[in-house]
Symmetry: C2
DNA sequence: AGAGATATAGGTAGAACTACCTATTGCCGT
DNA sequence: ACGGCAATAGGTAGTTCTACCTATATCTCT
């Protein structure tokens, strides 16, 4: 039984300043948001796994890895949380760089509490949508995993518009065998027409 | 015969300061980029039609409509040029607002000439790619325009995975008539299998 | 050794699709 | 009023797909 908060949307707060962390945590808890605070980029990376849903509040100026470095590295860690950058000494080039690297927002301290909450809620909504799509993809993916190598091969050729006869020639097997594979594909992917098969395949192509 | 430069990628420069315009134009012409300068948002909107390819250099502080207002209004004019904001007195919130509204970059004056050129070239590449895709879509779109209302109706149902019999029932016509429509659809769209039809339809769905 | 998965292939029958043909009705524009 | 287009529908033939059945060879895991 999963009784902890691992599965809940989480506001991750990464800031080396303990007073700032406490102040933000107090703000978040006052509106019933679940939050976790970390004193540095390293501690966060160790604790956060890519499955988590939520958003990330990131201070720029920190000992060790800076917020900007962490932001630019998140992608290669597979973490795609929306990131809100918080900074006391930000300038325009830094803000531009952050947003070009995909930051959700860039706010200067001292920040307006309501504005921060608004942005956090927007970020949480965005990530909730991202996770919804991710889960859909996951279901599809699981179905495709059930295909054998040969079946996957045949499926690609079917989606590309080949007839069973053409597929048989390309793979050097009987069109009859291709039909067997096709039947297995349709059953495993739970589709009943070519159109559904193509749509399902393209949905997976588009999002991964 | 189209002998003017309407079809060439164009760097549109919008700035109320004549010295600034001349300075930027000189920089652009020194690297053989074609540019057009405008003294205000209104003059630009009047001269630029949505078909043009290129990018837009936009000053923030101008009499009349500001650069930010123009940026936020471009979408509703159907103009999707990448926009590089140039400003002498920008601050962080303004930069954030510009980038969140889709600006390609936000640079502060006085700017480094090489940096500006780099960003312009990146913007031009992006818009060239956008136009390439747009042209592809346009060809597809032209084919779909050739369909009659009834044929379009039938096509959607085919793509959704309905059989001719099912379509006939839904539309209250004979499955035989549906077959006629299907044949016309396949001929007009120049596809030869259901899979191709669905792929073509979804390509259009995704990009428009 | 036996169970299960995988790939192979044949048969048969019915449903669905495709490509031809003709034909009628109604509407629009010259 | 005539020609052309759109929508309707039928016939026939051939191809393709789908759903059943059986069957063999190979490989893996227990």
């Amino acid at each position: 039984m999963m009784s902890n908060n691992t599965m809940r949307p989480t506001v991750f707060v990464v800031d080396d300043d303990e007073d700032m962390r406490d102040s933000i945590l107090w703000l978040l808890e006052s509106v019933n948001l679940y939050a976790e605070a970390y004193a540095g980029a390293g501690a966060f990376l160790q604790a956060c796994d890519p499955q988590r849903e939520g958003c990330l509040l990131l201070d720029v100026r920190m000992p060790g890895m800076s917020g900007m470095e962490l932001l630019e590295q998140l992608g290669s860690c597979g973490i795609h949380l929306p990131v809100i950058i918080l900074t006391g000494h930000g300038d325009v080039p830094m803000a531009v760089r952050a947003l070009k690297h995909g930051a959700f927002d860039f706010l200067q301290k001292p920040f307006n509490g309501q504005e921060l909450l608004d942005q956090i809620n927007a970020a949480l909504r965005q990530d909730a949508e991202r996770h919804r799509q991710r889960r859909e993809m996951h279901v599809l993916h699981a179905h495709y995993e059930a295909l054998t190598h040969r079946e996957a091969e045949v499926m690609e050729l079917v989606v590309a518009g080949n007839s069973s006869k053409a597929i048989g020639q390309k793979l050097g097997i009987s069109p009859k065998t291709v039909d067997i594979h096709r039947a297995n594909i349709m059953r495993k992917l739970d589709v009943h027409t070519i159109a559904e098969l193509v749509q399902s395949r393209l949905a997976l192509r588009g999002e991964e």
